[in-house]
């Protein structure tokens, strides 16, 4: 299967701090990769390199074969991104926000289709046409997911996507991501939520001080085992 995300020996430092240290990983079509680490472990730096917002000191990051440093615009076209805090335009409704972000991407979806995306992400239809200034964090997160979904990208990068979502919505998100993966998308999900990572991903990598310490298949570990492994790595 084709590699959709490929990171080879990435090093990135900020002054004397090594944020990413010789990181390499590959994510294939249909794969959901969970990058598990505490705050400051290097998850967001890795995502920002993949998004083309940071240039690595050395190494390469490719999205579907496109270098994210040399050809960031082209690479970004293939990425659906869900940040930890989705900031929307407060005076626009959920549908209007989604429509605007889609139009930026040259996608003119019908109102029905836009509402369909929001439904798929679990946002109740009664909120679709309400201004997002009234939305909770979880509701904004759902619109963020809908924005990524409507882009119909081949690669999805998620930074703490379940942050602020209630358990039901988190569960729906996991199901949605699995569906996207089954349609051939490659997904990288950075989080410190062990349970959500275990529930959603096929493969997990534990990152600490920018270094990828361990990779494993989800099927090989239970949630408890994963938690123990994670705590052990964090303690050492």
């Amino acid at each position: 299967m084709k590699n959709l995300i490929s990171i080879q020996n990435i090093i990135k430092s900020f002054k004397n701090l090594k944020a990413v240290d010789n990181l390499s990983l590959e994510i294939k079509e249909g794969e959901i990769y969970g990058l598990l680490g505490s705050n400051g472990a290097g998850k967001s730096t890795t995502l920002n390199i993949l998004l083309g917002f940071l240039t690595p000191d050395s190494g390469t990051a490719l999205i579907n074969g496109v270098d994210t440093t040399d050809n960031s615009d082209e690479a970004r076209k293939q990425i659906g991104y869900i940040p930890e805090n989705v900031s929307l335009y407060p005076y626009l409704t959920g549908v209007e926000n989604l429509d605007y972000f889609c139009k930026l991407n040259d996608k003119n979806h019908s109102p029905e289709k836009l509402e369909g995306f929001l439904d798929k992400c679990g946002l109740d239809s009664e909120f679709h046409n309400m201004r997002t200034e009234m939305y909770s964090k979880g509701m904004r997160q759902k619109v963020g997911i809908a924005i990524a979904l409507a882009k119909e990208a081949s690669v999805y990068l998620l930074d703490e996507p379940a942050s602020g979502l209630d358990p039901l919505a988190s569960n729906e998100l996991s199901a949605l991501l699995r569906k996207l993966a089954s349609n051939g998308a490659g997904i990288l999900m950075a989080s410190h939520d062990i349970f959500r990572i275990r529930e959603t991903c096929n493969r997990i990598g534990i990152i600490k001080n920018g270094e990828l310490l361990k990779e494993m298949d989800t099927s090989d570990v239970s949630t408890n085992e994963l938690e123990n492994i994670y705590i052990e790595f964090m303690k050492n």
Binding site: K77, P83, N85, Y91, L92, Y100, L104, N105
Partner: protein
């Protein structure tokens, strides 16, 4: 880009603060324009009444010697263009009535004594005050955070991921706010056109006013949005753009103005008058029968008419002497005032060059110029009024010389029919097409500034750190 502009407008329109601010601006502008026009019409009416009164007095002068009438003189009134209600320029300081009399070239007098107190304390409330200071400040407030808030909320990452580039965002957001500035400008110009009497010439001037302010607003919104994108946060962007705005509107005009006065120095009033008087004394003294130059002129006329004495002349030699004296005085005035005129022109040109550093200076110059209230228009009025004074005094001197009286007959008089036959002074603000070349430099600097900021955005947008 159009999607970003539409989105910005949707957000702006739904923002209550923006909505109420817009109502406030539209009402204030309407009120100020309306009051300005009322004030203008009152002023124009008073001026017209005074002008009619002066003319009536002139036409009903008791029978008198023409030379006495020359000393009695008349007045030239500077009609106030309707656009004076928009930008009073230097009119509030220079005044608008000139006394015209024989031997003397007066300065402008009567600069609105009724409003002197308020003008000296606050300046006049004209729409230019709102258009030049208040609206740009509001545009700054709208734009300084336009990109910073996208960065601070991290929404910019999502926007870029969806295909918007930084330069596209900066351009679209600055254009959205610029459109708002244009809207307020168009509201002002429309109200001005509806409430004030307009004609094709006024429309032409209004079009240039729109162009000048439009360019300036573009500069302000683009620069403010550019700083919002390139500086690290909203506070830095706001303090930088405010510092630039204060520099442009307060400090640079004063510094440059003082420098211009030092480079091209105008003589002080006392020196100017003394120099004029000294040179004037070298001419014919019309009232001194023993003056040497008068003797030479007398001999010339005696030879021309082939007579031996002034009493034998068929004309009144006194009128000839007065006109010769007048013409010499005119030469002296032309030389000294011409020199001042040239210095004032140089000062104006040098001041206009401050547009290189300060687009606000170009805006002010263009605004006054297109409203017909700047130094160039004022000098035009002074010149036309002086030309008329010369025609008037010559008509009186010619009547004195050739009207049928004899030399020395100071009791000879002309009646009011003659005074009625002398045309009064009429003045029309010159067409803008005649003076357009003077303001092209202001428009050029404004255009260059707009272009420079566009280039800055284009070049530096890629360097903007979105994290």
């Amino acid at each position: 880009m159009i999607n970003i502009i539409i989105n910005e407008w949707k957000n702006l329109i739904r923002d209550r603060l923006f909505f109420y601010s817009t109502i406030f601006f539209v009402l204030s502008l309407s009120l100020v324009v309306w009051m300005g026009i009322l004030q203008q019409e009152n002023q124009q009416q008073s001026q017209s009444d005074a002008q009619n009164h002066v003319r009536k007095q002139w036409e009903n002068l008791e029978a008198m010697n023409p030379h006495r009438a020359a000393h009695y003189g008349s007045f030239a009134f500077k009609p106030l263009n309707i656009l004076n209600a928009m930008d009073g320029g230097i009119n509030d300081i220079t005044g608008n009535v000139l006394q015209l009399e024989g031997h003397v070239q007066n300065e402008v007098i009567y600069s609105e004594a009724s409003q002197a107190l308020s003008i000296s304390k606050f300046g006049k409330l004209k729409s230019s005050l709102i258009l030049q200071y208040v609206i740009p400040l509001f545009l700054i407030i709208l734009s300084y955070g336009s990109i910073s808030k996208e960065k601070e909320s991290q929404r910019i990452k999502l926007l870029i991921l969806q295909g918007a580039s930084i330069d596209k965002l900066v351009n679209a957001k600055s254009i959205s706010i610029w459109i708002y500035g244009l809207f307020l400008l168009v509201v002002t110009v429309t109200i001005q056109s509806i409430l004030g009497s307009t004609n094709p010439e006024i429309f032409k001037r209004l079009a240039f006013i729109l162009l000048s302010y439009g360019l300036y607003y573009f500069i302000i919104t683009s620069l403010s949005t550019y700083l919002s994108a390139t500086l690290k946060d909203k506070t830095s962007a706001l303090s930088s753009i405010l510092a630039i705005w204060i520099l442009w509107t307060i400090f640079l005009p004063k510094i440059w103005g003082n420098a211009v006065e030092k480079v091209h120095v105008l003589p002080d009033r006392k020196t100017f008058k003394e120099d004029m008087r000294a040179e004037r004394n070298q001419g014919i003294d019309g009232h001194n029968p023993y003056d040497k130059r008068r003797e030479e002129l007398k001999n010339k006329y005696l030879a021309e008419y082939q007579v031996d004495s002034l009493l034998q002349l068929p004309i009144n030699f006194d009128g000839i002497v007065m006109q010769a004296d007048e013409e010499y005085g005119n030469l002296v005035w032309d030389k000294h005032f011409g020199s001042n005129y040239s210095i004032m022109q140089k000062q104006k040109s040098l001041y206009q060059f401050s547009g290189l550093l300060n687009p606000f200076a170009s805006l002010q110059s263009a605004s006054m110029g297109f409203c017909g209230t700047d130094m160039i228009h004022h000098l035009d009025f002074l010149k036309k009024a002086e030309d008329y004074r010369r025609v008037l005094i010559k008509a009186l001197n010619d009547k004195h010389a050739y009207g049928g009286s004899k030399t020395g007959d100071w009791k000879w008089t002309v009646d009011s029919e003659f005074f009625k036959s002398v045309q009064g002074f009429t003045y029309e603000t010159p067409r803008i097409s005649n003076h357009l070349s003077r303001y092209l430099i202001d428009l050029l600097f404004l255009f260059c500034w707009a272009l420079l900021i566009k280039v800055l955005i284009r070049v530096n947008a890629v360097k903007v750190n979105v994290l």
